[in-house]
Amino acid sequence: MSVSTKHRTLWRRCLALLVLIPAIALAGPTAPLGKKLKIGVTLHPYYSFVANIVGDRAEVVALIPAQANPHNYQPQPDDITRAMTLDALVVNGIGHDEWAFQIVKAAGRGATLPIIQANASVALIPIGGDQGGAKVVNPHTFVSTTAAIQQVFEITRRLGELDPANAAAYRQNALAYAARIRALRAGFMTRFATLDLSSFRCATTHAGYDYMMQEFGLFVSAVIEPRHGVAPTARQLAHTIDAIKKANVRVLFAEKNFSLDLAKPIEAATGVKVFALSHITGTAYSADEFEVAMRENLETLAEAVEFTQR
């Protein structure tokens, strides 16, 4: 073989390679190389938070059925099966979803499942009203806007650590979601701006709304339930009714799905007007559930404040 023939062969091979390389690249998989994270959540608001943070870059899995009451939930076998397949679990962790840890333990994931404490960086506040002189942590950080945003940021930060390839996208999504929550709040703030909030006094059946009240500069004078999810005794009820009368409370916020019955005797004894707020526990998980429920809550709060101005 002559030298020129060798060169021609070499050139042909190089040319073939040049043609083949893009062809091979184009024939490769188009789907992302990293697998999608499967992120478990314990409560309805966390489903909305995570769904808005991850978009379509990860899968959001509710740990328990949508209709379940988180206050007294008993873990089911299906929950354990779900927990076995998760890559991370987002929890409230401060008294609202203790059953999640039983599920994780039963699934044998106690040492391997990363737990994202949504409240890790939220400044907790005590339950309002008279708690016998004690300051008891209020775990309902998700019934709020500012504390909700803080949780969105905390979840985003932790998810970014677990899934660095999508960290920037998660952060952009979180900021956009936070802006939407703030816009929602701002709309009601405009409405509140014309009202005199200084004399507003309210009571609540369930200690679930202190964070939301704080954001509007409002305070709770009395809470009917002596402890989270516990009905008061007759004596405790009498004491609370006394406190309501002394504080000149005109509004009682009951829980939409749980404690309306508890509100009736108090309404009869004190003449307060009952309004129902949502604990953000619906019948189906969805990305927009938190915004829908909070809009309703803020609407109810505005109506209650307007009622006291009449």
């Binding site: 962790g93 401060i94 008294g95 737990i115 404490q117 949504a118 409240n119 890790a120 960086s121 939220v122 400044a123 907790l124 506040i125 005590p126 300051k135 942590v137 950080t141 500012t146 504390a147 945003i149 803080q150 940021f153 930060r157 960290a167 952060r171 900021l175 936070a178 802006a179 703030r182 816009a183 709040r185 701002a186 703030m189 405009t190 509140f192 701006a193 009202l195 909030l197 200084s198 964070y211 704080q214 954001e215 509007f216 500069g217 409002l218 305070f219």
Partner: protein, 243 residues
């Protein structure tokens, strides 16, 4: 009929008693005693040395806890400053800039946004002090200059070279209200999450801008660092050091 023998086992043929020692050398009693002592010692040791559930952090003399050391208004402003600080830091990581007070109005960012929250929480006068070497943020959102608050140029001059960005809130009118500092230490590490925010309060709502925002200087001027009682600490309190 068999005749009963009067010889006991161990007696020799002459009737003398022969003691037969147990193969273990009679250590059973001593072993049992030692085992009992070991169990008692172990149980006592566990009771005395078992991990204690940690309580809420005890603030040092120059610190204050958000949960039970702040009044309702200060608590509300502190709660709003925490996520605001996070967003400000993220924004800086992405753009290299700082969220101005005008921008805070556009994006409804509490506690700077002038809404009902701002109104009911004392109408605090906020100023942004950029890191030394930069010009101060000129536009306070106020139309008027508050007499009690220092001019931004004076403030900027005082912080030259410190490398911290500060959101300074003063002149709040709510009873018992404090003055506030959101201090963002800017780390030029070129990586995400390098910035750190701390929040400080001063019992005098009209406390002048401290000039130097290093901790020792702030403490000397009566500022106290706010320790958030957050979910991490609450979980530690409830469960020890579990997740």
């Amino acid at each position: 009929m068999a005749r009963l023998s009067r010889t006991w086992p161990g007696d020799d043929a002459n009737g003398a008693i022969k003691l037969v020692r147990p193969a273990s050398g009679r250590w059973e009693s001593l072993t049992l005693l030692l085992a009992a002592l070991a169990i008692i010692a172990s149980v006592t040791g566990y009771v005395l040395l078992r991990p204690q559930h940690s309580g809420p952090p005890t603030p040092l003399s120059w610190q204050v806890r958000s949960f039970d050391g702040l009044g309702a208004v200060d608590q509300a402003i502190h709660s709003a400053l925490l996520p605001a600080g996070e967003e400000i830091i993220w924004n800086n990581n992405d753009t290299g800039g700082w969220i101005t007070l005008e921008r805070a109005q556009e994006i409804w960012l509490p506690p700077f946004y002038r809404d009902a929250f701002w109104k009911t929480n004392g109408e605090v006068h906020w100023q942004l002090i950029l890191p030394g070497g930069h010009l101060p943020h000129v536009g306070s959102v106020d139309e008027h200059e508050d007499a009690a608050a220092p001019r931004t140029s004076e403030v900027s001059q005082a912080t030259q070279g410190q490398g911290a960005t500060v959101y300074y809130g003063s002149a709040g009118g709510a009873p018992g209200q404090s003055a506030y500092l959101l201090v963002i230490g800017h780390a030029h590490a070129g990586v995400m999450w390098a910035n750190q925010a701390t929040i400080w309060v001063h019992p005098d709502p009209n406390a002048p801008y401290p000039g130097i925002v290093k901790p020792e200087s702030l403490v000397g001027k009566g500022w106290r660092q706010v320790i958030p009682y957050d979910g991490t600490r609450e979980v530690e309190r409830i469960k020890g050091n579990q997740p």
